[in-house]
C-alpha cells in the first residue's frame, strides 16, 4: 500500500523518474493509479495530468518489459551446488556471472543430509544444480527435484549437472549387496581429490554454463582456460612436492580419500570403518591394531567431518600420527579454494611423515 501511495504522490508532483517505478517492477500498481485518478487533483490540470500519467505508464511498461525480457542477459546464473568443491569450481568458471549457493559444508557428511526446507527453496530458483552424482546425494537430490516445482533442474534437463558423469570412477563393484555396507554401485563418488578430475569436470561445466547462459559463453570459456592452465601448473608442482609421499602406507577413516591416495601413489592398508558407512566398532579397531603390527602404517588420515573418536583411539595405542585433512574447500583455514585445498592437503601430509 505504501508503494501505491508513493507512486501517486510521484505522479501528482510530476516526478517522472522512471527508475523509481521500474524498481518497484509492478505495472499493475501504476495502472491502478491511472484508472482511479487522484480525487484531489486540480480540475483544470486533469487532462494534462491524465496524459502525463499515460506517458509515464507507457514508459514504465516498456521499462518493465525490458527488465523482464533482458533479465537473462545480465542476471547471474543461479547455481545450487551440493558440495563446497563443486561450488568452488562453479565460481572459478562462472566468476561474477554465476551466483552460487552451496548446500553443505566441509563438516557435513553429504550422504546424510536431509532435504531441508532451505534447500528446497534454493532448488526452486536454481538455473543449474551441480551435484556430485554417483549416488552421493541419493537421499535428498530426488526430493529437491520433485518438491522444488522447478522443471529446469530435473534429471536429464540442462539445469542438472553431475560432476562424476563422464569420469572414470574407482572401486566400481562387480556386484552390489547391502551386506557390504554403504557401497556405491556406480563407484567411489569422492572424485574431487584427484585434481586431474577437476580439469575434466571444469571443461564439462564450462560447456553446460555456456548452454544455459549463451551470452556469457566466451567469459566462461576464457575463465576455464585460465583455470585449466593454473591447475595443470599446480598439479605439476604438487606432484613434485608430493614425491616423498609415494608408497607411504596409511590408515583411512572412510573410503573418501581414495582418489587422493591413488593420485599420489600412497598405499591404503586399512580403514577404520569395517565396511563403508558402518561406524567403527571397538572390535574392529582392536583387530586393526593387531594387523597394524604386522603391516605398519605411517599415518592415520581423517576428514573434518569424520568422527574423531575412532582415529584418536587407534592413534593413542598404535602411536601412529593422525593427519586431519581438509577433504574439501573450507575444511581447513588454508583450504579457501581448490588450489588451497591441495596446497594444504599436501603440506599436512608432508608434515605428517616428517613427525
Amino acid at each position: 500500500m505504501q508503494a501505491l501511495s508513493s507512486d501517486k504522490r510521484d505522479t501528482s508532483r510530476g516526478d517522472s523518474s522512471p527508475s523509481r517505478g521500474g524498481k518497484g517492477g509492478d505495472g499493475s500498481i501504476v495502472n491502478g493509479g491511472k484508472t482511479h485518478p487522484h480525487p484531489n487533483l486540480p480540475l483544470e490540470g486533469e487532462g494534462a495530468a491524465i496524459k502525463f500519467r499515460f506517458d509515464l505508464t507507457v514508459k514504465l511498461v516498456c521499462l518493465l518489459a525490458i527488465f523482464l525480457f533482458a533479465r537473462t542477459s545480465f542476471a547471474a546464473v543461479n547455481v545450487l551446488a551440493t558440495t563446497p568443491e563443486w561450488s568452488a569450481l562453479a565460481t572459478e568458471i562462472g566468476g561474477d556471472k554465476v551466483s552460487v549457493y552451496v548446500a553443505t559444508t566441509a563438516f557435513q557428511d553429504v550422504h546424510q543430509i536431509e532435504a531441508k526446507p532451505s534447500l528446497v527453496a534454493r532448488a526452486r530458483n536454481a538455473d543449474l544444480v551441480i551435484a556430485n552424482g554417483a549416488d552421493l546425494e541419493a537421499g535428498w537430490i530426488p526430493i529437491l527435484q520433485r518438491e522444488s516445482g522447478n522443471r529446469k533442474i530435473q534429471e536429464g534437463s540442462q539445469g542438472y549437472f553431475e560432476a562424476t558423469r563422464g569420469l572414470n570412477l574407482l572401486d566400481v563393484p562387480t556386484s552390489v549387496d547391502r551386506s557390504m555396507g554403504d557401497v556405491h554401485a556406480l563407484g567411489n563418488p569422492h572424485v574431487h581429490l584427484d585434481p586431474r578430475n577437476l580439469l575434466k569436470v571444469a571443461a564439462a561445466l564450462t560447456q553446460r554454463l555456456g548452454e544455459i547462459d549463451s551470452v556469457n559463453k566466451a567469459t566462461f570459456e576464457a575463465r576455464n582456460q585460465s583455470f585449466q592452465q593454473r591447475m595443470v601448473e599446480a598439479i605439476k608442482r604438487w606432484e613434485i612436492l608430493a614425491a616423498p609421499l609415494k608408497g607411504i602406507p596409511v590408515v583411512v577413516h572412510h573410503q573418501d580419500q581414495k582418489y587422493l591416495l591413488h593420485w599420489l601413489g600412497m598405499k591404503e592398508v586399512a580403514a577404520l570403518e569395517s565396511k563403508p558407512g558402518i561406524p567403527p566398532s571397538t572390535g574392529h579397531l582392536s583387530d586393526l591394531l593387531q594387523s597394524l603390527q604386522r603391516e605398519p602404517a605411517k599415518l592415520i588420515l581423517r576428514g573434518g567431518y569424520n568422527d574423531p573418536k575412532p582415529s584418536n583411539w587407534l592413534a593413542q595405542r598404535s602411536k601412529i600420527p593422525i593427519v586431519t585433512l581438509p577433504f574439501t574447500v573450507g575444511g581447513s583455514k588454508d583450504a579457501k579454494d581448490l588450489f588451497g585445498l591441495f596446497d594444504d592437503t599436501i603440506a599436512k601430509l608432508l608434515a605428517g611423515i616428517k613427525q
Partner: protein, 467 residues
C-alpha cells in the same frame, strides 16, 4: 612395302615409347604416392605408439573399470525403483486392546489403538517409483497387512514440468496437512502416531483426489497447497456424489538458523461435509447402539519442527523437537440409535442438533546421542470438550425415558493423556530396532502400561531423507 612396314613399325615403336614413357611417369607418380601414404601411416602409427606408451606410462591415471555385469537388455534399465519395508512387533499390553477407545472422541476407524498383543506383523510396505517421462513422476505404496490384505496406501502421479514453482499431484496420497501426516510409518520416531492424529484423523489422512502446490520464489521456504478429493477417510466419508467431497489447504514456512539448525512450521485446514458417518456408542439406557452424524467437520492444525546438529552434520548427533496442535469443530445433526427398535427406544433414529469443539496436541523430542543410538520422549494430550447434543434432556411421555449424557457416554468430556519413551538402535540407515514404553490414559479412568519392541528394515532402493 618395306618402307611402309618401317613406317608402321617406327610409328608403333614411337607410340610404344611414348606410351611406355607415359606409363613410366605414371608408375613413378604412383610409387611416390604410395611412399607418401606409407610415410604418413608410419608417422601416424609412430604417433599412436608414442601415445600408447605415454598412456601406459601414466599408470596413476584412473582407469575405467566399468560395471562388470550389465543388464541383459535395455528393459531392465528402465525398471522403476523398488523398496520394501519389513516391520513387526512384540507388544506387551497390560489392558485388553479390544477395549481401546479414546474417551470423549468419536472413534476414528480401525487403525487407532496399540494393536494386537504378543507377536504381530506390521504393514509390509512396498514402494515402486520412477520418473514416468520428462513431465511426470509416479509412485505406488502398497501395504500388505498382517491380516493378509493388501491396501493401496498411496498411488499417485506428480508433475515435474509445470512452470513457476507449481506442481500437481493426483491419485491417492497422504495429505500435506500437518507435519507427520505425510510421513510413512517406517519413518516415525515412535511406534505409533500421536493421539491427536489417531483422534482427529484416524491415524493418517489420505484421500483420492488432487493436490496443487506452489512454492514461492523466496530464499525462505514458503509453500502453499490446496487439495480436494473424495474425502474417503475419517473424518470424512466417501459419498455417492460427483465433484469434491472434502478439501484441505496448508501453508508451510521453513529455513535455517545458522549452519546447525533447520526449522519448518505450518498451518493447515481440513474441511469435510460428512453424510451418514456411523459410529458405535454406549448408551446407559439401551446398551450398545449405533449413531450417525451429518454435517460439517473443520480441522485446524498448527505444526512446527526444529532440528539441530553440530555443524549441521546429523551423522553422529542430532536433536529434533516437534509439536502439533489440533482443533476441530463439528456441527450438524446427530441421529440416535439408528438401528434401534422404536418399540424399545422411542428415540431410535431421531436426529437432533450436534456441535462439538475439540482440541489436542503433542510434543516430542528425539536425541541421537551416538551414531547408532537415539532416544525420544513424547507427551500427548487431548481435550474432548462437552458436545452440544439437542437430544439430551428430551423425554418420552409414553415410556417415561429421558435421554441424558450417559446415553452418549463415549462423548462425555474427557482429557486423554499419554506419555511415551523410546530408545532405538540403528546399525545402518536401513535397519532399526526400537524399544518403547507408553503410559496410555486414553481410556476413561484407565491406565494402560504398554511395552513395544519393533523392528524396521528397509530393502532395495535408497530411501529418501525427507525433512
Amino acid at each position: 612395302m618395306v618402307i611402309k612396314r618401317t613406317i608402321i613399325a617406327s610409328v608403333v615403336a614411337a607410340l610404344f615409347c611414348v606410351s611406355a614413357r607415359v606409363w613410366a611417369d605414371d608408375m613413378q607418380e604412383i610409387r611416390n604416392e604410395i611412399k607418401e601414404i606409407r610415410e604418413s601411416y608410419e608417422a601416424r602409427i609412430k604417433n599412436l605408439e608414442d601415445r600408447l606408451k605415454a598412456a601406459e606410462a601414466k599408470v596413476t591415471e584412473p582407469q575405467p573399470q566399468g560395471p562388470a555385469a550389465k543388464p541383459a537388455s535395455s528393459v531392465a534399465n528402465f525398471n522403476p525403483g523398488i523398496g520394501l519395508i519389513l516391520s513387526g512387533f512384540y507388544k506387551n499390553l497390560e489392558k485388553d486392546p479390544g477395549t481401546y477407545s479414546i474417551a470423549g472422541f468419536v472413534p476414528g476407524g480401525e487403525e487407532i489403538g496399540p494393536g494386537e498383543r504378543g507377536f504381530s506383523l506390521s504393514e509390509s510396505e512396498l514402494n515402486v517409483f520412477a520418473n514416468i517421462d520428462p513431465y511426470f513422476y509416479g509412485q505406488l505404496t502398497a501395504a500388505i497387512t498382517g491380516k493378509n490384505t493388501v491396501e493401496v496406501e498411496e498411488a499417485f502421479f506428480k508433475t515435474l514440468a509445470l512452470p513457476a514453482g507449481l506442481s500437481l499431484k493426483g491419485g491417492r496420497f497422504f495429505s500435506g496437512i500437518g507435519y507427520l501426516n505425510e510421513v510413512h510409518a517406517h519413518a516415525w520416531d515412535f511406534v505409533d502416531q500421536p493421539l491427536a492424529y489417531q483422534a482427529f484423523l484416524g491415524g493418517q489422512f489420505g484421500q483420492n483426489g488432487l493436490q496443487a502446490k506452489w512454492l514461492a520464489p523466496t530464499p525462505v521456504f514458503l509453500e502453499f497447497g490446496i487439495e480436494g478429493g473424495n474425502g474417503r477417510n475419517f473424518p470424512g466419508l466417501a459419498r455417492n456424489k460427483n465433484g469434491f467431497n472434502g478439501g484441505a489447504g496448508f501453508v508451510h514456512i521453513g529455513g535455517d538458523i545458522g549452519e546447525s539448525t533447520s526449522w519448518r512450521t505450518g498451518l493447515s485446514y481440513l474441511y469435510h461435509r460428512v453424510k451418514g458417518r456411523e459410529f458405535e456408542g454406549e448408551s446407559g439406557t439401551f446398551g450398545g447402539i449405533t449413531n450417525s452424524f451429518d454435517g460439517k467437520s473443520k480441522l485446524m492444525i498448527a505444526d512446527g519442527v526444529l532440528k539441530w546438529a553440530p555443524n549441521g552434520n546429523p551423522k553422529e548427533t542430532y536433536f529434533k523437537i516437534q509439536g502439533e496442535y489440533f482443533r476441530r469443530k463439528e456441527s450438524g445433526e446427530l441421529a440416535f440409535d439408528i438401528n434401534g427398535d422404536p418399540t424399545v427406544n422411542p428415540f431410535a433414529g431421531s436426529a437432533s442438533v450436534f456441535s462439538s469443539s475439540q482440541s489436542g496436541w503433542y510434543l516430542q523430542g528425539v536425541y541421537k546421542f551416538l551414531s547408532q543410538w537415539r532416544a525420544g520422549l513424547r507427551y500427548d494430550e487431548l481435550d474432548s470438550g462437552t458436545p452440544n447434543i439437542g437430544l439430551i434432556g428430551q423425554s418420552d411421555a409414553g415410556t417415561g425415558i429421558t435421554i441424558g449424557d450417559d446415553d452418549f457416554s463415549g462423548l462425555k468430556k474427557y482429557k486423554p493423556k499419554r506419555l511415551s519413551a523410546m530408545i532405538d538402535w540403528n546399525p545402518t540407515e536401513f535397519s532399526r530396532l526400537r524399544l518403547q514404553y507408553s503410559q496410555d490414559k486414553a481410556r476413561r479412568d484407565i491406565t494402560d502400561n504398554q511395552i513395544f519392541i519393533q523392528y524396521i528394515y528397509s530393502l532395495g532402493a535408497h530411501g529418501a531423507h525427507k525433512f
